[in-house]
């Protein structure tokens, strides 16, 4: 097991009248180099699960594993763990701690003891990878940005750490289509070329399902479905019952099929849908 949990249970404000069990015996196991999606209605436990994976929350019971080892509670060890497992928070601006965007992104490379000239290169590189121009905004305060730009800066500041595992909590909320696609292409690329393991929680499945090796579905703190996309998105009723949706293209294919045209529905991209509809009908001759 590269990263995973065993009967992970977590209760917020345990021992008080406000105790709330956010995760209930969640077990899963991921291999190195997998891309995994975590979906589920809000409040289902996605963020709580994610924060266990890099040791920010400590299980009430059960365990979290990284590279075969249970994550312990030694402070120094946890600190090292958080450098290898990078986390982009759901609300990034709550976690900015620097006076400038440059310093925010430079934090990790500086920690590695790199020379400032090298740090500068890393900052510029990280910003460009997410689709922002360093010279345009690196000396601003992180709050002096649009909503989407803040999220992209948060991604850049974790990328500059060169993590082995990258976890993103609802990373595309507020991103425009081209920055969203750029982010997914970047993750795909890092995964293919460097074996980066990626875990993404999201409500918006467009452009991302095609990259995913596995999908976990949470509801009420339990893992209710898990499997490859082709399994999870074949029937829509179960997902509808959970209050979830499908990728827009998959939704269209399901509706076409419902109308009686025999199309495949395990299709997640526009290109895939185009091909499938052409296959079905042939080119209408003229």
């Amino acid at each position: 097991m590269f990263i995973g949990t065993e009967k992970l249970t977590y209760t917020y404000m345990s021992g008080t009248p406000f105790a709330a069990t956010a995760l209930n015996e969640v077990s899963f196991s991921l291999g190195k180099g997998e891309i995994t999606l975590i979906i589920g209605p809000s409040g289902s436990g996605k963020s709580t699960l994610i924060q266990h994976l890099n040791g920010l929350l400590k299980p009430s019971s059960g365990r979290v594993y990284f590279k075969g080892q249970a994550i312990g509670s030694d402070k120094g060890e946890l600190l090292r763990l958080r450098r290898r497992i990078g986390l982009v928070f759901q609300i990034p601006e709550e976690h900015f701690f620097s006076e400038t965007i440059y310093d925010e992104i430079a934090f990790a490379p500086r920690n590695l003891g790199l020379a400032e000239s090298e740090v500068r290169i890393r900052v510029k590189d990280a910003l460009e990878k997410v689709g922002l121009r360093a010279e345009q905004l690196q000396y601003r305060h992180p709050f002096q940005l649009s909503a989407g730009q803040k999220r992209l800066v948060a991604v850049a500041s974790v990328l500059s750490m060169n993590p082995e595992v990258l976890i993103l909590d609802e990373p595309t909320a507020g991103l425009d289509p081209s920055h969203r696609r750029n982010l997914f292409a970047l993750l795909d690329n890092l995964n293919r070329s460097g074996g980066l393991t990626v875990i993404i929680s999201t409500h918006h499945l467009d452009d991302v399902v095609a990259l995913a090796h596995s999908v976990f579905v949470l509801q009420g703190g339990r893992m209710v479905l898990a499997g490859p996309p082709s399994e999870i998105f074949t029937t829509r009723e179960k997902l509808y019952d959970l209050g979830l949706s499908l990728p827009s293209v998959t939704e269209i294919m399901h509706s076409v099929k419902e109308k009686g045209l025999p199309v495949k529905t395990n299709i997640y991209t526009l290109a895939g849908a185009r091909q499938e509809i052409n296959r079905l009908k042939g080119r209408p001759g003229r």
């Binding site: 507020g174 293209v249 009908k281 209408p284």
Partner: protein
Amino acid sequence: MVNRPEIIVEARNLAYHYPGEEATSFPALSGINVAVYRGEYLALIGPNGSGKTTLLKLFNALLVPSDGEVRVEGVSTIDEVEIPRIRRICGMIFQNPDNQLVATTVEEDIAFGLENLALPSAEIRQRVGEVARMLNLEHLLQQPPHLLSGGEKQRVAIAGVLAMQPGCILMDEPTAMLDTASRRDVNDMVRMLRQNHNIAVVHVTHFPEEAAFAERVIVLNQGRLVRQGPPKAVLTDLSLLHSLGLQSTAASELAALLREDGFELPSQLLHNRELVDSLCSLELKS
């Protein structure tokens, strides 16, 4: 008598520069001329950093123009004594549902703005009751806001604005952080408001499926207004959208690809249902 649509908000030659802006970047807004008409449903789209949030903040006097002017029901936002009235006419809903609720119960939250107007308490009760009925929040009135789902929080925030009997509601990506069910909930509500011809809605969104329901779409890019028109015209102009890094609805994007392959599909198709129906009727012909 000629029935001219009445203007609620108007920007003339509007420009805005943030104090922190570098010389290397463009002003947040420049040369904006636009009007919002009473009762209309307007979608505002554009890439990250194009100026959408800035424009909303100028509309309700959270920012004052660097150049040009904004008038709300004819009154310039530069006039400080008019600011309370301007904010009452133009209420704002933000992206993060957790940042806007202040009181200890939903009822108090909806009443919050009214209390500040020093209205008689009978009138406050009556107005709160009315909007709670309208938005289906009656069963939640005694709940503490932090126990609500994201979608319910957004509906409470909208109720608080509606209780002020505004001329215009400004919504900055109200669904970006919501799950599928809550997103549907808020969108249904926005569409219901649309039947009320006294309230204009300006809806900033990165979801083309949401913009497709507006009566008019405005496109910003690099601080400039680059296009406006009905969704059937703007959202089917794929070359414009793509050149800005934007996208149309999945149905419209897929239809364009299929047209290239020789499928004869209506040119102004935006919604899934339209695509599915057209595809199925093609089948009948061939």
